[in-house]
């Protein structure tokens, strides 16, 4: 016995497959580029730079016209000169601070994500442990830093712990939210296909959590730096560590205000750099699919 041909249906399908859809097949988009960047990206870069220059010019003018002495407020030009002239001292401190910050951030990512995955496996685990993560988060790090410095033998280690405490909560709470925000129908679909726990985690929950995690990472990057600096302030000049906070304290005692500003500038610049790098990572990972990273077609 033979099956009946399905002429009408086939003709319809082929028609559309070759007409409407094939014509819409994606082609490589060409875009005008200026100096290697999208033409449309430049205003977003130039605007803050121009504002920054105007601010610095105003500051410099104020210092020169009013004759403010450098030990009260050094002009930006003097600060820039100090960054260069004191680079040998400042660069070492910058490196120490950056090392602590990055180590704390990595630890925050590892512990935050691991805990979030653990909590996603067991509601009880989450109920039992999450309140303590909150306690850790709401306790001011300045208040517990002295204790941690006493408990940990190594100053660098205690700074690392302090920076980690500040940095890890946004990653934990955002990742938990992300893991739980997978589309319910997709969860049902995975269940229908008898996917294992780990398969569901790997192919569904983790990718769904990625945008949330990256949002947390952006916040935690800045917090890790703040944690590292604040903890070093608390540790004070007694510590053997010599990060940028230590340089600021030292400059304060020695009334070398331009150097204090130079150290401050390096901290801010590090913070901005961390933000830019985390934003860039986030953009790379999300640009093909997540609403937040898509440009709207007009």
């Amino acid at each position: 016995m033979s099956r009946l041909p399905l002429a009408g249906g086939n003709a319809l399908l082929d028609d559309a497959a070759d007409g409407t859809d094939a014509a819409a097949r994606p082609a490589m988009a060409t875009e005008r580029r200026v100096l290697g960047l999208r033409a449309g990206a430049w205003p977003g870069i130039l605007a803050p730079v121009v504002v920054g220059f105007l601010g610095l010019a105003l500051w410099q003018a104020l210092v020169v016209i009013k004759g403010i002495p450098p030990y009260v407020l050094p002009g930006p030009w003097l600060v820039a000169q100090t960054v260069v002239s004191d680079w040998s001292t400042l660069s070492g401190s910058l490196l120490v601070t950056l090392e602590i910050t990055l180590a704390a951030l990595v630890a925050a990512v590892v512990v935050g994500v691991a805990l979030a995955i653990l909590f996603a496996q067991s509601r009880w685990m989450e109920r039992a442990l999450f309140p303590y993560a909150v306690v850790l988060q709401v306790t001011p790090v300045v208040a517990i830093a002295p204790l941690i410095i006493i408990w940990a033998d190594d100053v660098n280690l205690s700074l690392l712990i302090c920076a980690w405490i500040v940095a890890f909560f946004p990653i934990l709470s955002n990742t938990i939210l992300g893991l739980n925000s997978a589309d319910h129908n997709l969860v049902a679909l995975f269940q229908l296909y008898r996917a294992g726990r780990w398969q569901t985690m790997r192919y569904l929950r983790l990718p769904a959590a990625l945008p949330y995690f990256l949002g947390g990472l952006k916040i935690s990057g800045g917090l890790a730096l703040i944690g590292a600096v604040v903890a070093e302030f608390v540790a004070g000049t007694g510590g053997s560590a010599s990060g940028l906070a230590y340089r600021i304290l030292e400059s304060g005692f020695q009334l070398r205000i331009p150097r204090m500003f130079a150290a401050l500038f390096l901290i801010s610049a590090s913070g901005v750099a961390i933000f830019l790098v985390t934003s860039w990572i986030s953009h790379l990972l999300l640009r093909r699919w997540h609403e937040s990273a898509m440009r709207r077609e007009t």
Binding site: L4, L13, L186, F190
Partner: protein, 261 residues
């Protein structure tokens, strides 16, 4: 006569799926389904037709095993274990971070099929729904109808014995819907799965199915079981025939009674 109808006639003695006294009461006290009896034969195309809230989705979820019944049974008399199911939701429900191809590969990947085979099968399935050339596109780069076709490809890629569809085309415009109806019928004819199609459109149910199960709400129950004897294949000619108009009137009448009941 086609082999298909002979098959269906032979298997009436032993249904693929047998539902007996099925009830579902949700935790909040809503009785979504009360005492449903239903048999499905292998290779059938059945529509579940009924007003909003009559428990169509709930019945589909009970069949799929996603929801446990409060009482009654869902049994597969001819099967050793629960057979492979495909499920197509009202929304396309694709992984937004994965390309079209990866989305269709997913069920095979979860089943442990090796990657080369899985990608071959998925690509062939995509071609079957008219989407070759879009393997590397992301869902948000596709139109609503194209996303739905990806979803159909994913539902069929494991060659399931039974395909459950929950108002899959409700959100689409009429032209796209007609086209996808035709695609679906053609796939059903070629792949020979058993289809359960939830809809609240009388016209869609008459065009697609060989049997229309009409349901009523409060509590959700089956009120009529209509046979649609129009032969397959069906095409636009059928859509404009007197037979079609007559069948629509009958189904429409049954639905009106169901709503009034």
């Amino acid at each position: 006569m086609s082999a298909r109808l002979a098959d269906a006639a032979a298997s009436t003695s032993r249904p693929l799926l047998s539902i007996r006294g099925l009830s579902k009461v949700f935790d909040n006290g809503t009785t979504a389904l009360a005492h449903v009896d239903l048999d499905l034969a292998t290779g059938e195309f059945v529509s579940l037709l009924g007003p909003s809230g009559c428990g169509k989705s709930t019945l589909l979820r009970l069949i799929s095993g996603l929801v446990r019944p409060s009482s009654g049974t869902v049994a597969w008399p001819g099967e050793v274990s629960e057979p492979e199911l495909g499920f197509i939701f009202q929304e396309p429900t694709l992984l937004p971070w994965a390309t079209t191809l990866v989305n269709v590969v997913l069920p095979l990947k979860l089943a442990g099929v090796n990657r080369r085979d899985a990608e071959d099968r998925a690509a062939r399935m995509l071609a079957l729904v008219g989407l070759s050339g879009f393997e590397r596109s992301y869902p948000r780069e596709l139109s609503g109808g194209m996303k739905m076709r990806v979803s159909i490809a994913r539902g069929l890629v494991t060659r399931p014995k039974i395909l459950l569809m929950d108002e899959p085309f409700a959100a689409l415009d009429e032209i796209t819907r007609h086209k996808l109806n035709d695609d679906l019928l053609r796939l059903w004819w070629e792949e020979r799965f058993t289809a359960v199609f939830v809809t609240h459109s009388v016209f869609e149910s008459v065009y697609l199915s060989g049997r229309i199960v009409v349901m009523a709400a409060r509590p959700g129950r089956v009120v009529a079981d209509l046979d649609n004897p129009a032969p397959y294949p069906r095409d636009d000619l059928f859509r404009t025939s007197a037979d079609y108009a007559h069948l629509c009137r009958v189904a429409s009448g049954a639905l009106k009674e169901a709503i009034a009941a």
